[in-house]
Subunit: 321 residues, 3 copies
């Protein structure tokens, strides 16, 4: 595996899932693979879960880890040719990225969407610069439009906690006070579509339609109550307007309707549904205290599975070196 961005990069999902459970059962089993191999984690944006779980997964595999915090403001890379670089950009990406590739074997990149230029964000410009110029395998640690390590962990969590063979999984929008990227819902939808034994329903206010390439064959239901009926899993997440229906709305908050907050009444519509969220979560905005603290809440085991999904990805990349 030379890059990890989309679900198909992982090959057949059943095989990947089997590896995930094998590693969860013995997380140091593949420690020999990482000997004398170095992971470089490059953060253009802050991280808690991804930083910790990726570092843990790499150490489980016996790798060395170098963490590089690139304050987006402080380290501005020039990307154009022909520019006389006498301004605030002190290095060109054509030097900076190959150099980073010199000192490691694998590269993880975190780089959020700017939410002002849809085309730039959805082109995954920063991620593809690393893929093109670093000379090393690259994986997304949440980039502008995808968060595959999260979606893979979500799938592992659903597989562990499902009580029916083919669960109904509902991705629901919920209100938030800041404009957030679409990376998590995009990848969640993509991965649930790829999982053959899941029925995915997506519910959100009109105008918040996700990009069709991620929505795939999922059922989109604008009535949140109808969507929740009979659900086995509720996956709550806010995202800002994806600008699919109206490009001018891209990255904006066009709905603040707090009736979408997942509370006990919402959960009563489900089939004793489990509650999921990728964290961090704003309580009583996305979900009430009662729901997130209930016995049906999976947010902590879901976070714990980030170590497992990342271990599979790193193992695959190490095997392909």
């Amino acid at each position: 595996m030379k890059s990890f961005i989309n679900v198909q990069d992982l090959g057949p999902l059943d095989k990947a899932m089997a590896e995930a459970f094998e590693i969860k059962n013995d997380r140091y089993k593949y420690q020999h693979l990482g000997k004398n191999k170095t992971l470089m984690m490059i953060f253009f944006n802050n991280s808690l879960r991804t930083r910790l779980s990726t570092q843990k997964a790499a150490m489980n595999l016996g790798m060395n880890v170098i963490v590089l915090d690139v304050n987006a403001g402080a380290w501005k890379l020039e990307t154009e040719r022909g520019v006389i670089m006498d301004g605030d950009k002190s290095e060109h990406l054509l030097e900076a990225i190959p150099v980073m590739g010199c000192y490691c074997d694998l590269i993880g990149v975190r780089s959020f969407a700017g939410l002002t230029d849809r085309e730039y964000d959805y082109a995954e410009t920063v991620l593809h610069q690393f893929i093109k110029y670093s000379g090393k395998p690259v994986f997304a640690m949440e980039t502008a439009t995808v968060h595959p390590l999260q979606a893979f962990a979500d799938l592992i969590t659903i597989e562990e906690h499902k009580t029916v063979e083919r669960p109904k999984v509902v991705l629901t929008w919920a209100p938030h006070c800041r404009a957030l990227p679409q990376a998590v819902p995009n990848s969640f939808a993509e991965w649930m579509n790829a999982a053959e034994d899941v029925d995915l329903v997506i519910t959100h206010p009109k105008g918040y339609e996700l990009d069709p390439k991620f929505v795939g064959n999922a059922c989109v239901e604008y009535d949140q109550k109808k969507a929740f009926e009979g659900a086995d899993f509720i996956y709550a997440k806010n995202w800002s307007n994806p600008g699919v229906t109206n490009p001018a709305d891209y990255g904006k908050i066009t709905c603040e309707d707090r009736s979408w907050t997942v509370d006990t009444e919402h959960m009563s519509w489900t089939n004793n549904g489990k509650f999921m969220h990728c964290l961090p979560v704003r309580r009583n905005l996305i979900v009430t205290d009662d729901v997130i603290e209930s016995k049906n809440s999976l947010v902590i085991p879901e976070a714990a599975n980030r170590e497992i999904s990342c271990s599979v990805v790193l193992k695959r990349m190490l095997e392909a070196l």
Copy 2:
């Protein structure tokens, strides 16, 4: 050992001291204990000695280390239930702390006193949140009211340098230009009380009385000269007003008397006393250049023993996993 806050957490001190000297003699002896174990160091406040010595101790024991700098300003955790989190706090401690616990085996926490609310500080609120919610063993890397890794290192240092069986140890307040917590003097007093072969005298200006639970059976002497007479060890430290005598003074500087600065004349009152301080130290405010540079100054070996005290604590916690 599931937590390390107070001296009794370590069990019989003579056994702990024997382990300290065993480890000092061969600091890699217990390296097998830490294999595939991860220490997470969480800093809500800056650190030099604690960061370096704890990291070194963990590596001596073969552990992996993850360092997490939590700028107290940038990462505000919500602690209440029922609050609609639409302000500047982006995560609730009930999610953040269990998640950190997912990715490690042991947790060290540094979190200083705010010095505005005595009850909050002395309840060790942050530390106890980690103990209650992380699901992992937790040790204090200086918290609001205690610094046990320092006090343990101090005891090792005294044991190494004492020339009489039962030395007289004097904890003396000294002036400072900023309001400092009481964590170091609290733990020092607690540990010296616990050590059976030490005579502890505490001297400070009136109003600076430490909390009785730390003072224990120590002799409190307001006349610094009387306190110093015949002392084998002088342990200097500033602390802000503990608010024991007058709660309204808590965390304030109520004395700036520079006659308390430890100088050559002060040391002449002792029994050829050794000088100790936990560092960092403001010279010519706490202690003069002459005293801290004298052959009787133990500040560097004392700092070096931080690696040893921490090694014993981590070893104990690893054995109890």
Copy 3:
């Protein structure tokens, strides 16, 4: 090797070069040397290449690594005796540096020139404080006036890419928008002088004369075109006025002449010369896009050799422990 600042610290260069190529061929060969040894990297200034390559080299050698970022503004060390430390300096170097030495086996220091006080900078004050007070072997990770790890990597790169037995190597000044230290050109000149099979020519505008102790026997040619004629390697670098000719100019930009920018025409004067630069580089100010992207550009392999030069230095220091 107890310190690494100047080329002579390495002993005979041919032996050091042989070790470099041996390590490049098997970079984990000396991994046993670093077992249970700790490198402390102390950064008073930012770093990308040096941080990554040094960390990688240390890990190749099996060392533990502690990285300490000392924001020059936040951690002001008192250096004088007798000062009452009631200002913004919270620690004296006579405590801080020995303490850092307690917790490691080797120390790397990065500390740039202030460019205001030539005498202070050229005395390498900070570096020598670490050498004097840390009690541990110390190496320069670019200090006020030298960057020996870079110069050693440059020499390795020239050795790998030379096509004649005794290449003509030209160190050329180039314009820049900010005042930069002389560390890189100083060390480059020093190392090229020490290499017996190199003809070094230095070219720069009048007034930019480097310190004679680094220039040595090199030919200084003020006409850039004459200097470039027949060159096998062009090493471009900006530096601010070294204040050799006119002390009042120290650290200032006294020339902004962009005719010195290395472009295709400049390279046409050479003997099919290779282009080198230590990076980061400001394109179209130091060098044009065409030249740095040409097949004759060595900037990436040169950066990659930083891992090799550092490995040799760490290996030597570990062997001498």
